[in-house]
């Protein structure tokens, strides 16, 4: 249903408008945002700046911190990569095919968003432990343990990253003009050629965005990982856990330093997402 047409404005909306409440609502929103988000984050940055760049570097390159940051970084990257592929497949079948249970599956994709991370954590630990449903099979077949090793961290990061690529690709796939595919077919392209040369290139920005979102989320993830990770320093310890360890030792400086590095990583991801989107807007118009 197209409902009522959208208003097109001959002029930019009035600066002083006849609608009331601008000062009140903006004032409240800004104060609230400042109190809850901006000032607390600024304090972190301020604390970190007290350390200086060299101080940050010293903390970030102590072997244990470095190992934890690397673990978080590499495993997040790998998990996001896996989700980029399978997320694309799932988005594809959910938008293009009709099969029984499709709507339920569509809803289940959001479960990692909705399920408290601690709940997901103990559930994954139970399944992938040596005596768990999946863990026992994998161990019997390959001899590899999953839970309480870095492989467990990977599994948890795959779980929490699942929805991102699916949910960024789905709307793009839905809006993709069927006529473009028909045009490709009338020009003699096989279905595979159409998919590879017409459809997939149009999905690249969405997949990259989903990948970056999943990666950023995974780097900071804590709850679902700690139960399955084993948390062995230098082996299966993630950066967020190390922050908590530092806090328990009342080492605020160490915690601040690690937090600053993680914050930088997530802002870089955010920046990457913005760049991808402005690039794709320039190239493909509004997506």
């Amino acid at each position: 249903m197209t409902a009522l047409a959208l208003p097109t404005r001959e002029w930019l909306r009035p600066k002083p408008s006849a609608l009331p409440g601008f000062g009140l609502t903006l004032g409240f929103a800004l104060s609230y945002l400042a109190l809850i988000v901006l000032i607390p984050l600024a304090v972190l940055v301020w604390r970190a700046s007290g350390l200086g760049l060299s101080g940050l570097w010293t903390v970030a390159t102590t072997p244990r911190v470095r190992a934890a940051l690397e673990t978080s970084f590499y495993l997040s990257f790998a998990a996001a990569l896996v989700n980029a592929f399978f997320g694309l497949v799932i988005a594809w079948i959910l938008t293009r095919y009709r099969f029984p249970g499709r709507t339920v599956l569509d809803a289940m994709v959001d479960l990692p968003f909705a399920l408290p991370t601690a709940v997901a954590g103990i559930a994954l630990a139970a399944i992938y432990a040596s005596n768990g449903w999946v863990g026992s099979i994998v161990e019997a077949v390959t001899g590899l343990k999953i839970a309480f090793t870095p492989r467990g961290i990977f599994v948890a990061l795959v779980f929490i990253g699942l929805p991102f690529v699916v949910r960024t690709v789905q709307p793009v796939l839905m809006d993709l003009d069927r006529e473009v595919e028909e045009a490709s077919a009338t020009l003699g392209a096989s279905r595979l050629q159409t998919v590879l040369r017409v459809i997939l290139p149009a999905l690249v920005p969405a997949v990259l965005t989903g990948f970056a979102l999943a990666f950023a989320r995974a780097v900071g993830e804590y709850g679902s990982v700690i139960f399955i990770a084993g948390n062995m320093p230098f082996i299966s310890e993630i950066a967020p856990l190390l922050i908590i360890v530092q806090l328990e030792e009342f080492n605020y400086t160490g915690a601040t330093a690690i937090a600053t590095v993680m914050l930088s990583i997530s802002f870089l991801s955010l920046l990457a997402i913005n760049l991808i989107q402005s690039w794709s807007r320039r190239r493909f118009g509004d997506v």
Partner: protein, 287 residues
């Protein structure tokens, strides 16, 4: 699967049957492994020792107080973020002012901050060695390791949920209806209550649902500020962790199952809203 009468037309715009089937199977297998299996595990583990054991878990004083604390935190956090979301969306969607897109970015900020860092920033502000720590200690005010800290951290993490549902919708709806109400004699408040609010009610409910689910399930941020004081500062997700670490698996999974049910109800309500009121939830998939 969609019936297509003309087989040649079908092959031009759709993949061969075996491709479709294998893609669906791959997608289903992946979703089952990553999402459905953990979900099933939660309920199986919770019921491992029968329904009687569940009774014992929920009769426990500590479980009861964890549930109450979680409800209290959500009851404070969600209304606060609701008022913020509506105020911010009103100012952003109905008026033009410089710095608007920066404001929207700031509202989204908590999404890209690791939960652990979200907790850490409040420790840096109010913790024993924090900015206001000495002053708070001198005046005998407890924020960290107490309810206010848990509320603050949860508010930070859930701040964007309602605002980001409302902003695009209200931007799309424009100002004409409110202006029409005012030319007909309605006051600004009246116009908001009789015109704006009914127009955004489903998006509002949607945002509240998501915000509430996250507020009740937040783990990482709360873990940092709570101090895990049994019976006092333990929320449900933290209680899951404690029971799990005490090897009380049935207890842990029983509380986890309760949280999982909340997640499932949220997902169900969300799908219902999307299906029934898709048009009233701007920017959401179908148009």
């Amino acid at each position: 699967m969609s019936e297509v009468r003309n087989p040649t037309a079908a092959s031009a715009l759709s993949e061969p049957r075996w491709v479709r089937l294998s893609l669906i199977l791959i997608g289903l297998a992946y979703l089952s492994l990553v999402v459905l299996l953990p979900l099933a595990a939660i309920f199986t583990e919770a019921l491992r020792k029968g329904v009687g054991a569940l009774h014992e878990v929920f009769a426990d004083e500590a479980t009861y107080s964890a549930i109450m604390l979680t409800l209290t935190v959500a009851a404070i956090t969600v209304p606060l973020n609701l008022v913020f979301g509506v105020a911010a969306a009103w100012a952003i969607a109905k008026f033009e002012f410089p710095g608007k897109s920066l404001l929207i970015t700031f509202i989204d900020l908590p999404f890209s901050v690791s939960p652990v860092v979200s907790g850490l920033i409040f420790v840096l502000l109010f913790g024993a060695q924090g900015l206001f720590g000495p002053w708070l200690a001198a005046n005998d005010i407890k924020i960290i390791f107490a309810l206010p800290g848990i509320v603050l951290a949860t508010t930070f993490v859930t701040l964007p949920f309602i605002a980001r549902e409302l902003i695009p919708l209200m931007q799309e709806q424009g100002t004409a209806e409110e202006e029409a109400a005012m030319t007909l004699g309605a006051s600004g408040l009246r116009a908001f209550l009789t015109v704006t609010l009914p127009n955004i009610r489903w998006a509002l409910l949607y945002g509240v649902l998501l915000c509430n689910a996250r507020a009740m399930g937040e783990f990482g941020a709360v873990a940092v500020v709570s101090g895990h004081i049994r019976g006092q500062t333990n929320t449900m997700p933290l209680h899951v962790e404690i029971l799990y670490n005490e090897y009380n698996f049935v207890g842990a999974f029983a509380v986890a199952a309760l949280l999982a049910l909340l997640a499932l109800v949220t997902l169900g309500a969300k799908s219902l809203l999307e299906w029934r009121y898709g048009d009233a939830l701007a920017g959401k998939s179908r148009h």
